[in-house]
Symmetry: C2
Subunit: 213 residues, 2 copies
DNA sequence: TAGATTGTTAATCGATTAACAATC
DNA sequence: TAGATTGTTAATCGATTAACAATC
C-alpha cells in the first residue's frame, strides 16, 4: 500500500485496524486460519460492511468462500500500523496508572514497546518495574534521546502534567498520550491524544440515566 | 431542559459537556466568575463555535460582553449529566488499573461515586482502599443490589472479563465500562463502553509514523 | 462608533450503512 | 443451482465549520 494512501486512511479506520489485529492475534493463537467479515464484526460489535470496507481501504482481498486469511491480514495491518524499526514509548509517572500501563503492555507488541518509566519520587525509581527501566524525571531528556523514544505517556498527577509535557516536548518527543484530566498544550508538530476516565464514566452514567427513564 | 431533548443530545456533545464542566470547576475554584467561548475552546483544543453550539444545544445563554456565567453553566451541565439521587459505580478487579480508577475518582464528583470494589483474590479484599469498601467477587450480586449500584467498571485480566461481565449483568447493572482488551457481550438494555489502552497507543504511534515521513 | 462577542442557520466534511453486482 | 460471501458505489447520517445577523 503506498505511503500517501496510508496517510489518508480515516482515523476511525486506524482505531479499528488496531482492534481487528488484537482479535485476529487471538484467533491465530487458537489455530484458526481464516475468518469471515461477520465474525470480526460480531467480536467488535460493529457491522460486517464496516469491516469489509476497512479491509478494502487497506487494499486486502479475501476469498469468497473462506473469508480472510488471518495471518496475511495480521501482517498487512502490521505494515500499516507498525514501522520496521519499531517505535519506543515511555511512561512518566510511576503511580497505579503508570504501572497498569507498563504491566498491561509488557510483551504485547513487538514493534511498539515501553522502554522507560520516569518519576520525580526517588523512592519509585530504585528498581525496575516489569523489566522496564525506571529513572528520575531529571534524566528524561537524556534517556529519551539516548534510547530514541518518540512517544510519552503521561500518568502523573494533573498538577504536574503541564511541566511534564514541556519536558517531553523539549526532549524531542513526537507524540503524547495524556491520561491526566488536565488538558495540556503542545506545538503543532507533536501529536496529542487525551483521555479522561471521568469523562468516559460520566458518559456511561448519562446513558444509564436517559435510558432508564 | 426537557427530558426528550436531553435524550437526543449528540454523543460528542455529552463528552464535551463533561470536559467543559471539568475545566469550569477549575476556573471556579480559582475565583473566576465568567468565561468566553474562545477561552473554553482554547483549554479543550477545539473551536469557539463548537463550544457555543454545544451550549446552545443545552439551552443556556451567555451575555454578550461577559461571556458565560461559570456557576450557572456548571449547574446546568449538572442537570444534564447528573441525577438528583446520584449514580453509583463499582470497580471489579483491584489491580493497578482498578486502584488507579478508585484513587483518581475519589471525591471528584458528588453525584457519581465508586462505592465498592471487588476481586477474586482474598488477599486483596482484606481492607478498604481509599475509603472504598472492598469485597470478594462472590458477593458482587448481593452488594450491587444492596447498594443500588448501576455501573460496573471492569479492570480484571482479559481472560476474566467475560465471566465478570456476566456476573454484572446478572446482578442488574445498567452500564459497563470495560477496560480490558477483550470485547465483551451484553444484552441490549445494558449500555457498554470499551476502552483499550493498546489501541490508543497504536493510534498515536501511527500518526507519529505518518507525520515524520 | 468600532470591535468583540453570542446565537443560529446553512454548508461542508467525515463516517456509516444500504444496495447490489460479482462469484464461488 | 441456491445461498453465502466479498467488494464497491451511492445514499444517508452525524458532526463540524463557515457565514452572518444581532447586540452590547
Amino acid at each position: 500500500m503506498d505511503k500517501n494512501k496510508m496517510k489518508h486512511l480515516p482515523h476511525k479506520t486506524i482505531e479499528r485496524l488496531s482492534q481487528y489485529r488484537r482479535a485476529l492475534l487471538l484467533c491465530h493463537a487458537q489455530g484458526q486460519t481464516h475468518i469471515f467479515s461477520h465474525e470480526i464484526a460480531k467480536i467488535q460489535h460493529i457491522t460486517a460492511v464496516q469491516v469489509r470496507r476497512d479491509i478494502m481501504l487497506i487494499g486486502y482481498t479475501g476469498t469468497l468462500r473462506k473469508g480472510y486469511n488471518i495471518e496475511e491480514l495480521i501482517a498487512l495491518i502490521g505494515r500499516i500500523l507498525d514501522t520496521d524499526e519499531g517505535i519506543k514509548a515511555c511512561v512518566v509517572g510511576i503511580g497505579n496508572l503508570g504501572r497498569a500501563f507498563i504491566n498491561y503492555f509488557k510483551g504485547k507488541r513487538t514493534k511498539l514497546s515501553i522502554v522507560a518509566a520516569f518519576d520525580n519520587n526517588p523512592n519509585k525509581v530504585v528498581k525496575n518495574f516489569c523489566n522496564t527501566e525506571t529513572f528520575h524525571i531529571d534524566e528524561l531528556e537524556r534517556i529519551v534521546k539516548q534510547k530514541g523514544i518518540s512517544i510519552g505517556i503521561i500518568t502523573v498527577s494533573p498538577e504536574a502534567a503541564p511541566e511534564v509535557t514541556e519536558k517531553l516536548v523539549k526532549a524531542g518527543i513526537k507524540g503524547i498520550l495524556n491520561y491526566t484530566p488536565k488538558p495540556v498544550n503542545v506545538p503543532a508538530h507533536v501529536y496529542l491524544e487525551e483521555y479522561d476516565m471521568i469523562t468516559s464514566l460520566e458518559k456511561v452514567a448519562f446513558f444509564v440515566k436517559t435510558h432508564s427513564e
